[in-house]
């Protein structure tokens, strides 16, 4: 493991316009390379936009599509994480995130928790992922989450137990709640990411998009949280931006020594109790 510089690419995708969005992503990648970053992270569904509805099949990309090949090639220069609609050879559609590194697809995560309530309708259009797996990268072991995944405690927990020291969360979070000091969704997300980082002594890199779709404002505010739960870098709200953050191994080491929560976490107790709960609940 080593220190690295990540760029949180807070972009404004065009709804259903994959080639325009690819250009936008390529442009941000070039800038991140010029800024000597090691990793650039794009939001959930960065290649397609969010409220796709019946556009899902049109905007979907297979893993061997030219767009994926382009991103793979670009990852020879810098590691790239990007959200898109994935279509499988048997025509299942997923809200997916791909991690490209050294010209290879290193990991693919399919969003497990598809919000289908309030203003969300994902399960109508998309298939549900079925796993959370940490994976090794040049920057240490990583766990990928997509937006709503993060609202389920078990998801970051599983990734941390699987050895992830950096949690990367891609998001398309709509802004709502204007009664308080800060935007309701922004306050909620910062609570969530900082608490997860602190509970799991992991870094959290949260990358949200900006722009409007049918009157819904995506609020941006991408941020990096260190393993003590402190926000160490933050993008502006509502504006496009590339925000650099330097992540140091020393900070992680220090936190893991001073708060050995994960060392003390008992997988056995958790598993035994989960098995019991499952037994008791199952019919």
């Amino acid at each position: 493991m080593s220190d690295f510089i990540a760029v949180m690419a807070q972009i404004k995708p065009k709804l259903g316009c994959v080639s325009d969005n690819l250009s936008l992503i390529e442009q941000s990648i070039r800038q991140a390379v010029a800024d000597k970053a090691d990793l650039v992270i794009f939001p959930e569904l960065a290649l397609t936009g969010y409220f796709l509805k019946d556009l899902v099949p049109e905007a979907a990309l297979s893993l061997d599509s030219p767009v994926m090949t382009t991103l793979k090639k670009l990852s020879l220069e810098i590691a790239v994480v990007v959200g898109f609609v994935e279509v499988t050879p048997d025509y299942q559609f997923y809200n997916s995130a791909a991690w490209f590194e050294d010209g290879q697809l290193k990991h693919l995560h399919r969003k497990v928790y598809l919000p289908t309530y309030g203003l969300f309708d994902e399960q109508r259009y998309l298939g549900r992922g079925d796993r959370f797996r940490a994976f090794d990268t040049k920057f240490g072991r990583v766990g990928l989450l997509i937006c709503e995944d993060m609202w389920h405690l078990s998801a970051p927990y599983l990734l941390a137990m699987d050895g992830a020291v950096t949690l990367v969360c891609l998001s398309s979070s709509p802004g709502r709640g204007v009664e308080g000091e800060g935007l309701g969704s922004a306050v909620a997300w910062r609570n969530l990411t900082t608490a997860a980082a602190r509970f799991l002594t992991c870094r959290v890199l949260y990358v949200n998009r900006v722009g409007y779709e049918d009157g819904v404002a995506f609020w941006g505010g991408s941020h990096a949280v260190d393993p003590s739960g402190t926000i160490v870098a933050e993008a502006p709200e509502f504006e496009e931006s590339l925000t650099l953050v330097q992540l140091r191994d020393a900070g992680l080491r220090r936190e893991r020594i001073s708060s050995p929560l994960l060392r003390d976490e008992s997988l056995c107790v958790t598993l035994r109790e989960l098995s019991r709960i499952d037994r008791e609940r199952s019919c």
């Binding site: 409007y212 049918d214 404002a217």
Partner: protein
Amino acid sequence: MSGLHINAPLVRRILTGFLRDEILKVGARKAVLGLSGGIDSAIVCHLAAEALGPENVHAICMPYKSSNPESEVHARLVAQASGVNFTVIPITPMVDAYFEQFPDADNMRRGNKMARERMTILFDHSALLGALVLGTSNKTELLLGYGTLYGDMASALNPIGDLYKTQVWQLSEEVEVPRPVIEKKPSADLWAGQTDEEELGFTYREVDELLYRMVDQRATPDELAGDGFASAFVSKIYGKVQNSHFKRRLPVIAKVSNRTIDRDFRYSRDWGK
């Protein structure tokens, strides 16, 4: 603090961003709106001027002969304060020409006709100027159905449709709408001396508190009774929301195919934008 309280600077930021983004991405730069002299259109005018630059905003005042002359004065005041382009187009000749054929028409028919006459002028200017028509209906009116379908309810974009009247008042202080416009009694101004609250039979403050609890917080009838709302008032408002729902939807399409518009043919309006 009431849940109706808003963080006005934050709302201002979201709404100006909304106008800029949603207008620029369809390839337009300009907006046109009807300026009545009331607070709703005043606030939209100020937000649009801030979002697009006042030179790109065209406000049109469309009085009828029975409109309160003060309305035009206030509309002019708003246009001057926000710096937007301002035109007055009286609708009396067109409306009167029509009702010469129907001299017995009641106030409702006349009011609806005036609202729709104004709509045709705004959409004509939309084509003339390459400008999008901004809606100025607030959430209270939209929920109560207190507006004319295809009249004042017609627009391309509505920045204030998710704000209750009480919240519009809060925001109007933030964007510095001229004082006389903030302080006057709300009126549809369809006939002399009309005020909204008299016509509705309750105040905006009362109904906004109820709508907020009923709609935003999904309070049950028991909870609303516990809040002190009279059950007759609750039923009356629930009925208004229910009975005006058709105004908030597209016309109903009879389904015969496998893919019917808006039922199983579903795309965002910002498709490709």
